[in-house]
């Protein structure tokens, strides 16, 4: 199994080995020894780690998180990372995201459209170490490509691709192949893995900026 980033540990919680990070509880998640459980069933990145994908994260990275929703996953990311920019487009979840960010000085919430990087290029710094992406809109590969400008040399992309967002009726494998093809212009794909049983018809991707 690949190494976890510093700041992410497995702990026995209620008899099970669970991923944990240290920080203010956010969504009623179980805690143990002052650490809170990172539920892979509610987080694509959590599932990628749980399934042993090599994220190449050491901890302490600067991160752009696209599709932060109400902040469940990004709260864990911010727990073990450096400056963390969280972009979310829907107003309602941003209200929760703001609560999550308020108690995390390194987490910067942005109500913006991940398909329009101009909207936040004046706020998000250049040369970031990593983009984490979990946007459930059509054109997910395109979103990753447009945001590659924020990554430094060899910057990482950790993306979860939802097949149904691209095409409700198509075969997920065909969708994933298409996504991979679109990504290959800006990224070198290092590893892919379906996120079952945590998330159906999702593909986890680890890629490096070319």
């Amino acid at each position: 199994m690949s190494e976890l980033p510093d700041g992410v540990d497995r702990r026995a919680v209620a008899g099970e080995e669970r991923l944990t990070t240290e920080g203010e509880p956010v969504y009623g998640e179980p805690t143990a020894d002052g650490r809170r459980v990172w539920d892979a069933g509610r987080s694509k990145l959590g599932a990628m780690l749980e399934l042993g994908m090599d994220t190449r994260l050491d901890g302490g990275e600067s991160v752009l998180y696209l599709g932060a929703a109400s902040g469940t996953t990004v709260s864990h990311v911010a727990d073990f990372s450096g400056p963390t920019y969280a972009v979310e487009f829907a107003p309602r979840p941003v209200r929760d995201l703001v609560d999550v960010a308020e108690v995390r000085p390194n987490l910067f919430p942005l109500l913006a459209d991940a398909r329009k990087p101009r909207e936040y290029a004046g706020v998000v710094e250049a040369d970031l170490d990593c983009i984490v992406q979990d946007v459930a809109t059509r054109g997910q590969a395109d979103v990753a490509n447009r945001n590659a400008q924020f990554l430094g040399e060899d910057g990482l992309l950790l993306a979860a691709i939802k097949a149904r967002s691209e095409n409700v009726v198509a075969d997920p494998d065909a969708v994933f192949e298409d996504v991979r093809e679109t990504l290959s212009g800006r990224y070198e794909v290092l590893e892919t893995r379906r996120l079952e049983p945590y998330h159906d018809d999702h593909l986890g991707i680890v890629a490096r900026k070319r």
């Binding site: 400056p83 309602r92 209200r95 703001v98 390194n106 109500l111 706020v123 710094e125």
Partner: protein, 286 residues
């Protein structure tokens, strides 16, 4: 143009958090830069820690305000959806009435159903000629309109708690949307005296009263709330007044803060129980 012209902190006074939030909300830039270093260089922050602190405060404030503004705009969508729901329901019923006159005899439909339910029965028929085809087709349009109404209601039920969580909790999502609609928006509703909220939807009766023709109406659409309709007639005036007061408070919290406040709902429940208990007591005494 210098390197920091399109930075969020360009021209922003570090001591003015509102300006900072506005710059974040409205700014645009061609490409990202090393903003922390540039901010220190330009004197916006003493060091990168201070920059991140200011960035944190500004992004949290900007995101909170932007989310709230976007949701406030949602009250307009809620109003449109409510009016569309009323229109689809009304037109579905009107067409169903026409259909009943036509199809009852034509198709020899034997069913106790009337209105929209009658249309649903007819819509399932296999037409035998061109005339029946038109009647059955009309029935299908009625069924479509009923589905549209149901979809709009579902939309309102999902959306009202996001737009006005306290009002929706207290009035139910559809009545909440109706009050927002009658007031012309959540902001207008929040700014209304509770006496006006009490008679919203009873404008005709109110104008008749103002012209001296009629007694003052005791309630408008809030009559549909069980707190009023479930109260015995003698107490309905005071129940309506109490409910309108609470609804006004709920609308104000929704507009100005947007948080859900359990306490105002408890108050109403208590008040309701008191009125009910008194009514039961009186009944027992009789």
């Amino acid at each position: 143009m210098t390197e920091t012209d399109d930075a969020w902190f360009a021209g922003v006074d570090p001591g003015d958090p509102e300006a900072a939030a506005a710059a974040i909300a409205d700014g645009e830039a061609d490409e990202p830069r090393d903003w922390p270093a540039l901010a220190v260089e330009s004197g916006f922050a003493a060091d990168e820690d201070e920059y991140y602190d200011r960035l944190h405060d500004a992004t949290v404030a900007a995101a909170r305000e932007a989310a709230r503004a976007a949701e406030r705009a949602d009250d307009k969508q809620l109003v449109h959806a409510l009016r569309a729901m009323d229109d689809t329901e009304r037109t579905a019923n009107e067409l169903a009435e026409r259909l009943e006159e036509w199809a009852g005899a034509l198709l020899d439909v034997e069913t106790g159903a009337t209105g929209l339910d009658f249309a649903a029965v007819v819509a399932e028929r296999e037409p035998a000629d061109a005339t029946e085809e038109r009647a059955v087709s009309l029935a299908r349009r009625v069924v479509d309109l009923r589905e549209e109404r149901d979809d709009l209601r579902t939309f309102i039920e999902r959306r009202a708690p996001a737009v006005a969580p306290n009002l929706a909790e207290m009035a139910g999502p559809v009545l909440a949307a109706r009050l927002v609609s009658l007031a012309g928006g959540l902001e207008s509703l929040a700014k209304m005296p509770s006496g006006t909220v009490q008679v919203l939807g009873a404008e005709d009766a109110l104008f008749a009263h103002l012209r001296g023709h009629a007694p003052s109406p005791k309630h408008g659409v809030i009559f549909t709330h069980e707190f009023v309709s479930g109260t015995r007639p003698d107490d309905r005036g005071s129940a309506a007044r109490a409910l309108a007061g609470k609804l006004s408070i709920a609308a104000r919290i929704d507009h100005y803060s947007g948080d859900f406040r359990e306490s105002v709902h408890d108050d109403l429940r208590d008040r309701m129980e008191t009125i009910r208990a008194r009514a039961e007591e009186d009944q027992t005494e009789e």
